[in-house]
Each structure stands twice: as structure tokens, then as C-alpha cells.
Amino acid sequence: MIEFVHPALLFILGAVPIPFLKGSIRKTYLVLIPALAIAAVLAMEPGSYGAGRFIGQEILFAKVDKLSIVFATVFTIMALIGMVYALHLSQAGQHVAAFVYVGSALGVVFAGDYLTLYLFWEGMAFASAYLVFAQGGERAIRAAFRYLMVHLTGGVALLGGIVLHGLAAGSLLFGPIGGGALAGTMDTGGYLILAGFLLNAAVPPLNAWLTDAYPEATVTGAVFMSAFTTKTAVYVLARAFPGTELLVWLGAVMALYGVIYAVLENDCRRLLAYHIVSQVGYMVAGIGIGTEMAVNGATSHAFAHILYKALLFMGAGAVIEVTGRRKLTELGGLYKTMPLTVALYMVGAFAISAFPFFSGFVTKSMVIAAAGQDHRALVVLALTMASSGTFLHTGLKLPYYMFFGTDRKLEAREPPRNMLVAMGIAAVFCIVIGVFPEPLYALLPYPVAFEPYTGVHVTESLGLLMFTALGFVLFLKALDPENTISIDTDWFYRKGARAFLWLAEKPLARYEKAVSNVSDTLALPLLHGTARAGLRVDLNGVDAAVNGFARAILVGGGALRRLQTGVVTHYALAMIAGVIAAIAVFAVVWQ
């Protein structure tokens, strides 16, 4: 019996044959692999697998414990749902990318050391970026590129952190840093790692990549993206930074931030994307609180969230698929033509809004209760307010404008059957978890002593929801979506990238050109100048001197010639006179 099959490898290696399979064989295959992965995760025993050494560091390919198993379970289930939803696609590219994406996310979940984690972390960024690229068109390609660059920036911060942390800690094994019992031991490396994780968790102000890219992704790609990137980040935060106080406040702010921005949204998937930010806020806050119940809450909420958020994205995706429109101001009245989609979408909407007997209720309330137990009234308030806002937008506003509201007489029909089946599976999960939370609770990392269905909980949340609904009816007009573009922090990197490019293209490139041509503009002229000067010196100075000397010799020669008489005795006389003169000089000088 094989005790451990790494599901990441199942997906990543399993991606290879996809382009070579055709028709129904491919379809079967696409469903088979996630099913096998689910089986592999269910059969998994906690332990460490695939230890080895890489460039002198201990690495651990897979570390299995309860926390990783929960995430792996929901990831593999989600992979199955997402694959069913994407079965109708004929191009293999997205299937391959989705496989690599899911595999990388699973790789991160089982990573026992930072190097393995980083490997899969980057894999996720590239594979998911492809899901945006695949949408095609200039807009999507640009968005994908921005998305990729932001993630690579986060990746670089993470890598820097890993190196620093590795140098300080002497080991690259992946474990808690700086939080809880280790408080006060956070170093620069730890903060960099945290920053890298927070970026993937879309914590404001590092959230803009999410709401920028998800609406541009393909219909099927967005479903995958909504599930994996942020939740993987939640997982690593839970692993490395439980009980980090900063996360509590970031999480609370996040939960509200997403809801507030969602008010301004007109694009249906962008609205949903902002709600990812909001929902992940609950999980981040839960991890920050760090008590057993809070971490349980965050984990279970991630579990439920993946499924209902995917359901919502699938619903919105189905609308885009059949109508080709994505703005709320251009949609409406679809309930007549797409009743099944509406019904399934509403299951997701009730789940995210935490209606009793839907999955969100049993998980979100655990996070809020944990905050209450930890005596954090402000956090409880923020999370409760966000909860109300969530219902307002995803449960009321979005379905109202998309499916009901003004009938724009759009030609629509139900989406392809595989899409409906995928949504159906997700909807079943949303309800089953809501009604029977125990199996999920049993999966959680710590023992659960939380009972969601108490009278207080149920009436409290129902009251909140009803009140929100009342508000919606009363202020319906004020909520009318407007055809606008809201500005989020992505403005900075859109502009920032441009500023950078300007710097590279204008002053630096000019400088470089000047330096590069220095041999033309400075060195060679100088050389030539010197050479010419030398030539002048040569001609006028040295030559002149030499010539002058020569002339002098010539002149002297002429004068001497006059002395030459041709008579030998004269020469002899002169020689004797010379010798005598020389002796005289010698005698005088050498006295």
C-alpha cells in the first residue's frame, strides 16, 4: 500500500498528457485526476515525506499534519468542481494551467521548507497569470502582466525574507515565526516573509492585484483563482504567523475594506472579488487572534469560503458566458431564462451571507465568537458590520441587478450542463456543511468545542440579515450601480510602473547613450585632438628643430667649406694647433 502520494505531483505531472488527449477521453481524464487527488488526500497519514538536501539545506517536500490536510481536502474538492465547470473548453491551455495552478497550491500546502514553498509559490503566480492571459485581448494581457509583476514583487520580498530568515535561524524548515510564544523574535527576514504572504492574501493596501485581475480572467479561470491564491496565503499565515497581533487589525480592516469598495462596483466579478478581500479578512483576523478556536474558525471559514465563493464566481461566470456582459448596469431580468443559475447562485449568496443552515454560518460565527471570547469588542463589531455588508452586496444587490431588476430583454439561456453540474456540487457542499458541520469540524486542526446552532447565534444573525434586507429595500435607489471605475491602490503600481519605465527610458537611457558614446564624443576627439596637437608640435617644434639643426649644419658646412683649402700642410698645421690647444686645456683643467 502506498502511504503517500503527493497530490501536487499528481496534478503537475498529470498536466503533461492533457494536450494529447481528445474529446471524451480528455474529459474523463480531467475529472479523474482530481478524484484521485481527493482519494490521495483522504488516505493520507500525518508525517514527513520526501526529505532531502538541496544546496546544503535540509528540505522537506511534504509535511502532512491536520492543518495541511484540511486545506488539501478543500483544494482537491475545489479542483474537481472547477474542472467540471471547465469541461466544455476545447483548448487545452487553460486546463493545463489550472492543473499546474492547483498542483502548485497543493505543493505550498505540503511544503515542509521554504525552498519548496517558494518553488510552488512562484508556480502558482505563473499558472494563475496564464488564466488571465488566456482571456485574450489587450486589456486582459495587460492585467495579467500587472498581476504577474505584483506577484513576482511579493515573491522577491518572500525570497529576500527566506534568505535572511535562513541565515538568522540556520534552517529553512517552514514553521512558526515570531507569533504567539515566539513574539519578539521577529526579524527583518520574518517581516519580509510576512509581507510576501500578506500580498498573496490581498491585505490592503496590497489587495489591488486581486480586484484588478480577477474580473479580467476567463470565466473558468476566475473560478480557480477565487479559490486558491488567497487561501494558500491564509494557510501559510496560519502555519507561520498564528497569534501575530498585527494580523488581527489587518484582518478587521480588510473585512470592512472589501465591503466598502464593493459598494462602488459595477462589474459583477469585481464586486465578488472585493468580497474575497472581505472574507479573507475574517480568516486573517482569526489567525491573528491565534487561539485554538480562532485558528479553527479561520481554517473552517477558508474551507467553506472556497466552495461558496467559487459557486458565486461560477454563477457570475455563467451569466458572462451566455450574455457576454459583465456590468450590472447592462444586466437584469435573467431569472426568466436562467432560473437554475439563479437558484444555485442564491445558495452561494446565502452561504457567504452566513444564513443559518448554510456553510458560511457555521464557520464565520466561529471566527466572530473566537474574537468575542478573546474580548476584542472592536474586532467583533467590525466583522459583524462586514457581515451585514456582505449580505447587502452579494446576497441582495448583485442578484437583484443581475437576475431581477430592470428586464433588459437579454437573449439568454442556461449555461452548458457541465457548468450547472459544477455549481450543483458546490451548492450541495454549501448546504451540507451548513446543516451537518461535524465532519468539517472533525477535520480542523484543534478539537472543536463550538456549537453554532444555539438560539442566540441564530436569532442574532437572522436579525442582522433581516435588518440588512430591510435597509436594502428602503434604500434601493441609493444602491443603483453606476457605470464608474473605482480607484484602488492599483493606481500606484499602474502609475509606479510607468514612472519606473520613464526613469529607465528617459534620463537613464540618455545618460547611458552619452556614456556609451564617450569614445565618440570625448575620448576619440581628445585622442584625435592630442594627435593633431602632437602633429603640430611635431611639424612646428620637433621637425622645425630638426630642420633647423639640419639647416644649421648645412650653413655651418658651407662656412667650413671655405676653410678647406685643399693644402695638406694647412690641415697638418691645424691639427697640431688643435693638439697643442687640447694639451693646454688638459694641463690647465686637470691641475
Binding site: F54, I55, G56, L115, Y118, L119, E122, G123, F126, F133, E138, I141, F145, L148, M149, L152, T153, V156, L159, G160, V163, L164, G166, L167, T188, A497, F500, L501, L503, A504, E505, L508, A509, E512, V515, S516, V518, S519
Partner: protein, 491 residues
């Protein structure tokens, strides 16, 4: 004396050059050149196979008297520092021949003679154990390279070749002065190993360090002595670019490792922060300029400056991680950037334009080409799982340990790498298929595939299982660090 393997490795290309000279048909010239370079690669593989990773001593040593009166010997040998470069040179040699198969269509014979001569001299540089021999190869190399750029280059070839020649020659002259000083200080010997034992006063070391620095920094190239490189690369034919980027740039860094560090340890330690700062500057500056390029070849050329910055950063971090990383990274850079130049060359042969703006949607017309291009682009930006990641991780670890701030700058450089490489890939490979409409682009053929595949293998091999490569480097790095710290700066 044992089997003269290194001599064979050095002289096989030279013999090839001699044989090629007497051939008439261009085709025959190509095949013979390919045969000799493949034979050379086989010998280099044999050398690596017999390489003992347990020692830092020179291996495969050969010594023959050459000019005994002046203390000049013909001495060859390799250790962990040079072995990989000998192999890299041999690896890129036959790929260069393949890359010139149709790109060079006039004076084929002369080209191959230059290429093979070049090959022999480069191998001589990496395996010389005699300073005089080293310098002769180092200088003589300029001539075939000058010819390759100046005769078979692009439109601005004469200017580029001239510039290349001027820069490197100017550097080399200072190097020569340094060599002469060493010769006399060392008791009239050119034996590199003996010169490593010298204990020079700090003053002398400083002067020599800067004399060597200019020579090596021009070759690496380090900012601000880099401006010959983009011109030379842009004008050089593909094979010239591959050799320039793959091998020539490594010689500067090799010079630091072989001469500056062991012979001038005190000065090396003393100026290490300066050198690291210059390296960090090169990383960022090269990266920014690469970002601003529209010319594919220039982009890769500037990226080389940035990547070589990582190499020098690792060297002058002066710790095991940094040194291992930089040596491995040089090998990686040779593979990856060599491949990138090959790819630029391949596409240029088809479209005769290097302007990024002229491309777009290449993926639709040449999927295999763009697929492999993606691999090398990702490798160049050091994606985990590829070769450069291992090198960069080690260099960064070493850099951070030596100097936190400069390490941080280097990390930013890695990000710039992602920006220009992905930006280039997006513009060239993705988007609407405008390139297919304007040019007739065919995908890679079998011959090109043969040149690409081995490089792709090394991308993954080093990326996933770097142990054999690091094993080659390891003991020599330890030994080198002993030389640096025990001799000059020990108590």
C-alpha cells in the same frame, strides 16, 4: 607523464582551425568544424568525469618548459574553479558552430577558422597555470573576436569591433603591467601557483588590485566600463554573441577568482565593500537599461550586465555561499544567456529585425520556439526549479550575510529582471499575431533543436539537482577562502 587530456582539449579546436583552412567546400567546412567542436566537448566531458571533487589541488596538470630563461613554462591544469568553465566553453563551442550554420553565408571558412581559434584560446585561458601563457591567450583572443565582429557583424560592425578592441586592450595593458610587477616581486616566475604564495605589502597589493580591476572589470563588464558590450553584442553575429556572453564575460570574473583574490588577499578584503557596491550598481543599472530597450539583443546584453553584477557580488561577498553561487551562476549565465542570444539570432534570421515593436503573437506562428523561449526567459529571471535560481539564491545568501543593504539592492535587481524579461516576452510572444502577417516565420527545425536541447537540459539539471555541480566547485572555494583569510589577514 599522464595522458595530456587538457592539452588535447586546448589543441583540438586549434587543429580544427588548421584543417578547415585547407578545405574548399563551405559545407565541408561546417561539418568539419562541428566535428572538431563535438570532439572537444567529448574530451571536456571526459575531463569532468575524471575530475576528483575531493581535492582543491590542480588536476590533469601538465608542465613543459617553454622559455626556461625567463621562467616561462607551458603549464595547464584545472581545479574546481576552472573546470566548469572549460566545460562551458566546450559546450558553447559546437552550439556556436550550429548557430552559424546558415547565418554565416560568406567567407565561411575564415569564420570557422576564427571561431575555432577563439575556442582554443579561451580554453587556454581557463586552463593555463602559467601567467605568461594566460596572458598570451587572453590577448590573442581579441584578434579572432575582433574579426568575428568586424567582418561578419551587422551594419555598425566596424565601430563596435573597434570599441570592443579599444576597451579590452586598454584594460589588458594595465593587466600586463601588473603581471610584470608580479613577475619581479615573485622572483622571476610566471607560475600562477607559486605567485599565490606571495605575501606582498598592502601598498603593492592595492596598486595591483586596481590594475587588475580595470582589466577584469572591462571584461565582466562592471559599470561604468560596460559600454562596449551592448554595441559588440548587437553587431556581433549570433555565434559571436553566444561566445561573448557565454565565455568572454566569465573571464573577467575568473580573473578575480584566479588572481585578485588569492594573490592580493588583503586588498581584496579591503576593497570588497566597494566591489559589492559596484556590483549592486551594475545589477540595478543594467536592469533599468534593459527595461528601456526596444532592441532584443540590446535587452539581453544589458541583462548580462545585470546578471554579471550578481556574479561579482557573490565573489566579493567573500564567503562560501557567495563564491559557490557566483561560480555556479557564471555557468548558468553561460547556458541561459547563451540560449537567449541563440534565440534572438534564430528569430533574426527569419525576420531580419531585432526591434521588439515589430513582433507580437509569435506564439501562434512558432509555438515551439516561444515555448523554449519562455523556458529560458524564466530561467534568466531565476524562477525556482531553473538553474539561475540556485545560483541567485546562493549569491543572495552570501550577499546578505556580507552586507545587508547591498544584498537588498540585489534583490530589487532580481525584480527588475522579471520586469524586462516578462515585458519582452509579452510583447514578442503574446497578443495578436502581427508578426505572422508581416514575416514568414517558420518554427525551429531539427538542427536548431539540437542546439537548444542541451542548454534546456542544463537549465533543469542545475535547477533541480545542482549537487554534482556544487561538488565540483566546493573544495576549491573552501581552499580559495583559506588563501584569502589565512594568508593576508590571519593573525
Amino acid at each position: 607523464m599522464a595522458f595530456p587530456l587538457l592539452s588535447l582539449i586546448v589543441f583540438v579546436p586549434a587543429a580544427g582551425a588548421a584543417v578547415v583552412m585547407f578545405l574548399r567546400s563551405d559545407d565541408l567546412v561546417r561539418w568539419v568544424a562541428l566535428g572538431f567542436t563535438v570532439l572537444d566537448l567529448t574530451l571536456a566531458i571526459a575531463m569532468l568525469a575524471g575530475f576528483d571533487t575531493g581535492t582543491s589541488e590542480m588536476q590533469f596538470v601538465e608542465k613543459r618548459p617553454w622559455v626556461p630563461a625567463l621562467g616561462i613554462t607551458f603549464a595547464l591544469g584545472v581545479d574546481g574553479i576552472s573546470a566548469l568553465f572549460v566545460f562551458l566553453t566546450a559546450l558553447l563551442g559546437w552550439i556556436s558552430v550550429l548557430a552559424s550554420w546558415i547565418a554565416i553565408d560568406r567567407k565561411v571558412k575564415q569564420f570557422m577558422v576564427s571561431l575555432l581559434t577563439m575556442q582554443a584560446l579561451m580554453l587556454g585561458v581557463f586552463s593555463a597555470l602559467d601567467l605568461f601563457l594566460f596572458y598570451v591567450c587572453w590577448e590573442a583572443m581579441l584578434i579572432p573576436m575582433y574579426l568575428i565582429i568586424g567582418i561578419w557583424g551587422g551594419d555598425g560592425r566596424v565601430y563596435a569591433a573597434f570599441k570592443f578592441f579599444l576597451y579590452t586592450l586598454a584594460g589588458s595593458l594595465l593587466f600586463l603591467i601588473g603581471i610584470i610587477v608580479l613577475y619581479f616581486e615573485g622572483g622571476r616566475t610566471f607560475d600562477i601557483l607559486a605567485l599565490m604564495e606571495l605575501d606582498l605589502p598592502f601598498e603593492v597589493q592595492s596598486w595591483l588590485f586596481f590594475a587588475f580591476l580595470v582589466a577584469f572589470a572591462v571584461k565582466v563588464p562592471m559599470v561604468p566600463l560596460h559600454t562596449w558590450l551592448p554595441d559588440a553584442h548587437v553587431q556581433a553575429p549570433t555565434a559571436g554573441s553566444i561566445i561573448l556572453a557565454g565565455v568572454l564575460l566569465k573571464m573577467g570574473a575568473y580573473g578575480f577568482l584566479r588572481f585578485s583574490l588569492p594573490m592580493l588577499p588583503e586588498a581584496s578584503v579591503h576593497y570588497s565593500t566597494l566591489m559589492m557596491a559596484l556590483s549592486a550598481l551594475a545589477i540595478v543599472y543594467g536592469g533599468l537599461l534593459a527595461l528601456a530597450q526596444d532592441d532584443l539583443k540590446k535587452l539581453v546584453a544589458y541583462s548580462s550586465i545585470s546578471h554579471m553584477g550578481f556574479v561579482t557580488l557573490g565573489i566579493f561577498a567573500l564567503n562560501p555561499l557567495g563564491l559557490q553561487g557566483s561560480i555556479l551562476q557564471m555557468f548558468n549565465h553561460g547556458v541561459t544567456t547563451g540560449a537567449l542570444f541563440l534565440f534572438v539570432g534564430l528569430i533574426y534570421e527569419r525576420t531580419h529585425t531585432r526591434s521588439i515593436a515589430d513582433y507580437g503573437g509569435l506564439m501562434k506562428v512558432a509555438p515551439v520556439y516561444t515555448g523554449f523561449l519562455a523556458l529560458f526567459v524564466l530561467s534568466s529571471m531565476a524562477l525556482p526549479g531553473t538553474n539561475a535560481f540556485v545560483g541567485e539564491l546562493l549569491v543572495l545568501s552570501g550577499g546578505f550575510a556580507a552586507n545587508l543593504a547591498l544584498g537588498a539592492v540585489a534583490v530589487l535587481g532580481a525584480l527588475l529582471g522579471a520586469a524586462y524579461l516578462l515585458g519582452m516576452y509579452r510583447k514578442v510572444a503574446l497578443g495578436p499575431a502581427s508578426v505572422g502577417a508581416r514575416f514568414k516565420v517558420r518554427d525551429v527545425n531539427g538542427r536548431e533543436m539540437v542546439a537548444i536541447l542541451p542548454l534546456a537540459v542544463f537549465v533543469f539539471w542545475v535547477g533541480l539537482y545542482p549537487k554534482p555541480f556544487l561538488a565540483i566547485i566546493d573544495s576549491s572555494v573552501t581552499h580559495l577562502l583559506q588563501q584569502v583569510y589565512d594568508k593576508g589577514n590571519g593573525p
